[in-house]
């Protein structure tokens, strides 16, 4: 055997040794008994759930608040005796939204593998964030029999119970949001005859948003798109689009933009001295973003109580929980950092909303069964209407896995400074859009309050 | 005067120069002769400090140059025209000349005028890129660029390389004239022993890194054994 030949041998041996090392590390991870569902430990009375979310990288801006607020809630409830004695063990894995800046290995696929490899098993994923990221693992999780609850994204894909029976969305989808904007525009005297311009992201977010507008009877006089990467590589396109709208005499502009896109569009309008009425998707309209860019404010849609309502029962509870758990952590990820003098932001409310929804389902199951099961949680979701912070019920059914199906219009405050970073309800009308028929109905707003066992 | 004493240079395990000692007197041309690979270029590069010697000394008059940086040696008035001429092709003739004067306290305009007088062809080509010049013109430019700094010592590495005999003859003649008019100390490394011996006062013959003879040029030219065995020149 010559030298070169041996060198390949050595290479292969070292690979083998490396892999063997990894093998021993991974051995014995299968759960022992099969009497309970994976992730359920009847001894310690804990239930293990997980999520893949961006904690670093561009998409973590704002979005990291969501899962961290959920950690605050789980920590708070665990510390106050749990749910019928059951504690939630929540494992958050950073996938950088698959934006790669974290390096290979931090992608959703690898991190989902890590979640599935949790000792004792994984009960369900809850609150994983992003459409594309979740799509990339939905088959893996389905084949593993792991329910995928409360995906954090407004895509209508989640509402597909025939193909993905274990997959549940959470928030009102972009189609519904667009329809609500259109309905409001048509019902408002000052806006209904105005020319409308639309700027949306060149993906399901923008496509669904535009379709929603059209479903609501508003066909924009001009509709434009931008690529997700344009916020980095082609920023001038936002100004070009706004200038186009301005010269066309457009008075109402609907934006389906991520926060950076919102900033670019609103700043461009400011530079042009252009003051249309803006309607911005809830995805990109957090008060901080709008505040910094333009003093004229904007309309948006939310399914959560307007943040100016500090005395709202849920807002007050959320503030209490976030304040109490400030500085704690779970599985190496810290809870949301929150100081009491601030208004809540939408991402914090959102994280609290779905974590409360999970606790409600868990409460329901453990009240009747004692030991939580996957099928029990799923039947609790589809058979009951939960009271969450949302102003619309979380109404899953065998034909609806979308979750929330409505919301109300809010005005994002215009003055700058942290003291003015809040939203106020425009009126008392709550819209509901049926996720299957797209039919729109309205009700008067009524706010719920936290159950007493939530403390 | 350049004096080299017991100079040893190695490239890794290969010894390029072994105990080389010789003197290049002021105001005279000393030719360093030898076959390809004899260590001629290494000798010049060591004097200019581009190569570090293992041991030995190099004196410029009374000053030991070993341990100094190349640019400091240049600033002392030692001009080195490297093998392949070292003309910067991306620079114009003018820029090459300006670069020659840059580290020295000389009047640029006068210096350039002087060189143009010496090499009229360069004046015609002054706006051209050096890369577009012919081989002879490039050699002229290299010498002119070295001379503009008004050096006291001129180290020339294979000026005849790749030139036609007629051009070589002209260049060598100019070098002789420069040496005489400026009282220059010239160290002329050449494989083309015949041209070099024509203008040299003294000659050192290198063979595989060893100096085997250091004598007046005329003696070397007359020594049949040296000519045949080391310089590749047939007996006349």
């Amino acid at each position: 055997m010559n030298r070169k030949f041996r060198r390949l041998g050595v290479a292969l041996t070292s690979v083998s040794v490396l892999s063997l090392g990894l093998a021993t590390a991974g051995l014995g991870s299968l759960p022992a008994g099969a009497s309970t569902d994976p992730g359920v430990n009847t001894g310690t009375k804990t239930i293990t759930i997980g999520a893949t979310v961006p904690l670093s990288g561009l998409a973590a801006l704002g979005f990291a608040d969501v899962s961290k607020s959920a950690i605050s809630v789980f920590n708070y409830v665990n510390a106050h005796g749990g749910v019928n004695g059951w504690k939630v063990n929540f494992i958050v894995k950073n996938d950088c939204y698959n934006l790669g800046i974290c390096g290979a290995g931090n992608d959703t696929t690898s991190q989902t593998a890590n979640l599935l490899n949790t000792s004792g098993g994984l009960f369900a994923t809850v609150g994983s964030l992003g459409t594309a990221t979740q799509v990339s693992v939905e088959n893996t999780l389905k084949n593993a029999g792991v329910p995928q609850l409360f995906v954090n994204s407004g895509s209508h894909y989640w509402n597909n119970p025939s193909t993905y029976p274990g997959l549940y969305g959470f928030q009102t989808n972009y189609l519904a949001e667009g329809k609500m904007f259109a309905t409001y525009i048509k019902a408002t005297a000052a806006l209904k005859s105005a020319k409308v311009g639309y700027l949306g992201q060149n993906d399901d977010f923008g496509q669904d948003g535009l379709q929603g507008l059209k479903n609501g009877g508003v066909t924009p006089n001009d509709s434009e798109t931008y690529n997700a990467t344009d916020v980095v590589f082609n920023q001038p396109t936002f100004k070009t689009t706004l200038a186009k709208f301005q010269s066309a005499g457009i008075k109402v502009v609907v934006l389906d933009t991520v926060p950076q896109g919102t900033t670019l569009a609103l700043t461009a309008a400011k530079q042009l001295g252009y003051k249309p009425t803006f309607f911005i998707s809830g995805v990109g309209s957090d008060p901080q973003t709008v505040n910094n860019a333009n003093e004229n404010g904007a309309y948006s849609m939310t399914f959560l109580p307007a943040t100016k309502l500090t005395t709202n029962k849920w807002n007050a509870w959320t503030s209490k929980v976030l304040t109490a758990e400030n500085g704690t952590s779970m599985n190496g990820v810290s809870a949301e950092a929150f100081s009491k003098n601030k208004y809540l932001n939408g991402n914090q409310q959102y994280g609290v909303a779905w974590s409360v929804a999970f606790l409600e389902a868990l409460y329901k199951v453990t009240s009747s069964n004692g030991v939580p099961t996957r099928s029990g949680i799923e039947s609790a979701l589809t058979s009951t209407s939960f009271a969450t912070p949302a102003v619309v019920p979380l109404a899953y059914s065998s034909t609806n896995h979308q979750g929330l199906t409505g919301g109300y219009l809010v005005k994002v405050s215009s003055a700058s400074g942290a003291a003015n970073q809040y939203t106020t309800a425009v009126n008392t009308t709550v819209y509901h859009v049926d996720p299957n028929s797209q039919a729109l109905t309205t009700t008067k707003v009524s706010y719920t309050s936290p159950a007493t066992w939530l403390h | 005067m350049i004096k080299v004493a017991n100079l040893n240079v190695s490239y890794g395990a290969v010894k390029a120069l072994r105990d080389v000692s010789f003197e290049a007197p002021s105001g005279a041309i000393t030719a360093v002769l030898g076959a390809n690979g004899a260590g001629k270029t290494t000798l010049l590069r060591t004097i200019s400090a581009l190569v570090e010697p293992q041991s030995g000394q190099i004196f410029l008059d009374e000053r030991n140059l070993v341990g100094m940086r190349p640019e400091a040696i240049a600033r002392l008035g030692v001009a080195h025209v490297p093998e392949g001429r070292g003309v910067i092709g991306e620079f114009t003739v003018d820029e090459n000349l300006r670069l020659g004067a840059i580290a020295h306290k000389v009047t640029l305009a006068e210096g350039i005028a002087e060189q143009f007088e010496l090499f009229p062809i360069l004046k015609e080509r002054r706006k051209q890129y050096a890369a577009t010049l012919s081989g002879g013109e490039r050699q002229m430019l290299a010498v002119a660029r070295a001379m503009i700094a008004q050096p006291t010592v001129l180290l020339l590495d294979e000026p005849s390389l790749g030139l036609a005999p007629k051009v070589t003859f002209d260049i060598m003649t100019t070098i002789r004239q420069l040496c005489e008019s400026r009282k220059l100390t010239v160290l002329l490394v050449e494989q083309n022993a015949k041209s070099a011996l024509r203008i040299a006062d003294f000659a050192t013959v290198l063979h595989v890194g060893t100096a085997i003879a250091s004598r007046p040029a005329a003696e070397v030219a007359a020594d049949d054994s040296l000519r045949e065995y080391y310089l590749g020149m047939p007996s006349s």
Partner: protein
């Protein structure tokens, strides 16, 4: 390396290596097998990059783009012809990426290093934007899902057992499929390198003037090197698509190109085993970082902790390139030498 082995030796070695790696999968947990499957995709891609860099002296910062071509061709093809055997799809993806490599390689032949690196980087930036603009058939930012290889029944019967058996079996099956593709790719490259073409490429790298003097067609040799390299990365992208179950613009961001260069250098560029180390590093980088964070006591959730991986691997890249350009492969070679010296001493 490997230039003095015979074809038979290379076949035997490849079979042996593949068999050992497959044997290992039986000891791995499902999730580690899944990571191993992804690692084979990265290893093939890094092999392509390494081929270009180590064996032709050029560097590309655009190989995520070729991966994307391979991945998308696979997904699009399977969308319409879902019953195509995997082998055919992989060949198709490789060919498509190689064609892309020829197009990019044409200017590359005339360019010096920095121009080429910059041009390929620009390519990697621009390419992932295409699917979002081409219309629904290209999948948009959602990407295109595809079916990951599923273990056939006989395989499940042989390996199965335990409550998570089906998924665990599937992951192991994926890993084995990846290892098989990987083995074939490495075998082909080792052959290529021993061939006349391989010698020509090395000559071009070491001395392009001499290469032209002996009558080599310089542009053609370089374009060929680029095409082979791109083709391998396309194959890596195709395997990635199969193992990941979906391709989307987010799967191939331009920063992935930078990660690929990082793991290639750390693994050891220009060597076969370096590409293997690089692929494993790529999937285990996070675990390695976490392990170091825990050992050193860095709060993984602090601002520093969240950025520690990039600081660590970027820093390692700089240090490796300056002090030990042969990377992990070189280090292991060095250690092996030391051990052998010690052993021969003892024998005396």
């Amino acid at each position: 390396m490997l230039r003095h082995t015979t074809t038979l030796q290379r076949i035997l070695l490849s079979v042996l290596g593949g068999a050992i790696a497959i044997g290992i999968t039986f000891f791995l947990s499902g999730s580690n097998n899944q990571l191993l499957a992804l690692a084979t995709a990265y290893a093939i891609t890094i092999l392509g990059l390494s081929f270009l860099t180590g064996w032709s002296g050029q560097i590309s910062l655009g190989h995520s783009g070729f991966m994307a071509i391979g991945g998308y061709v696979t997904a699009l093809w399977l969308q319409h012809f879902s019953s195509t055997p995997m082998v055919l799809t992989l060949i198709l993806a490789t060919a498509a990426a190689a064609v892309g490599g020829v197009i990019m390689g044409l200017p590359a032949t005339k360019l010096r290093g920095p121009y080429l690196a910059g041009m390929t980087l620009a390519f990697a930036v621009a390419l992932p934007q295409l699917p979002e603009s081409l219309g629904p058939w290209a999948g948009g930012s959602q990407g295109i899902p595809l079916q990951t290889p599923t273990a056939p029944h006989w395989f499940a019967n042989v390996v199965g057992g335990g409550p998570l058996a089906i998924i665990a079996t599937n992951y192991q099956y994926d890993a084995i499929v990846g290892i098989l593709v990987c083995t074939v790719a490495f075998f082909i490259v080792s052959n290529l390198f021993a061939s006349k073409t391989g010698r020509a490429m090395r000559l071009v790298r070491d001395n392009d003037v001499a290469a032209e003097l002996v009558g080599l067609n310089l542009p053609r040799t370089r374009t060929l090197a680029f095409a082979i390299s791109a083709g391998l990365s396309g194959l890596g992208g195709a395997v990635f698509a199969y193992m990941n179950g979906t391709v989307s613009p987010a799967s191939f961001p331009y920063v992935l190109s930078i990660s690929l260069v990082t793991y290639m250098v750390l693994g050891g560029m220009g060597t076969l085993q370096g590409a293997v180390y690089g692929g494993l590093l790529a999937v285990y980088a996070t675990q390695i970082t976490n392990w170091i964070s825990n050992t050193v006591g860095i709060d993984p959730n602090s601002n520093f902790g969240l950025n520690f991986q990039n600081i660590l691997f970027g820093g390692l890249l700089i240090v490796t390139m300056i002090t030990a350009p042969r990377g992990l492969a070189g280090l292991i070679h060095l250690l092996k030498g030391l051990v052998q010296k010690q052993m021969s001493k003892q024998r005396q």
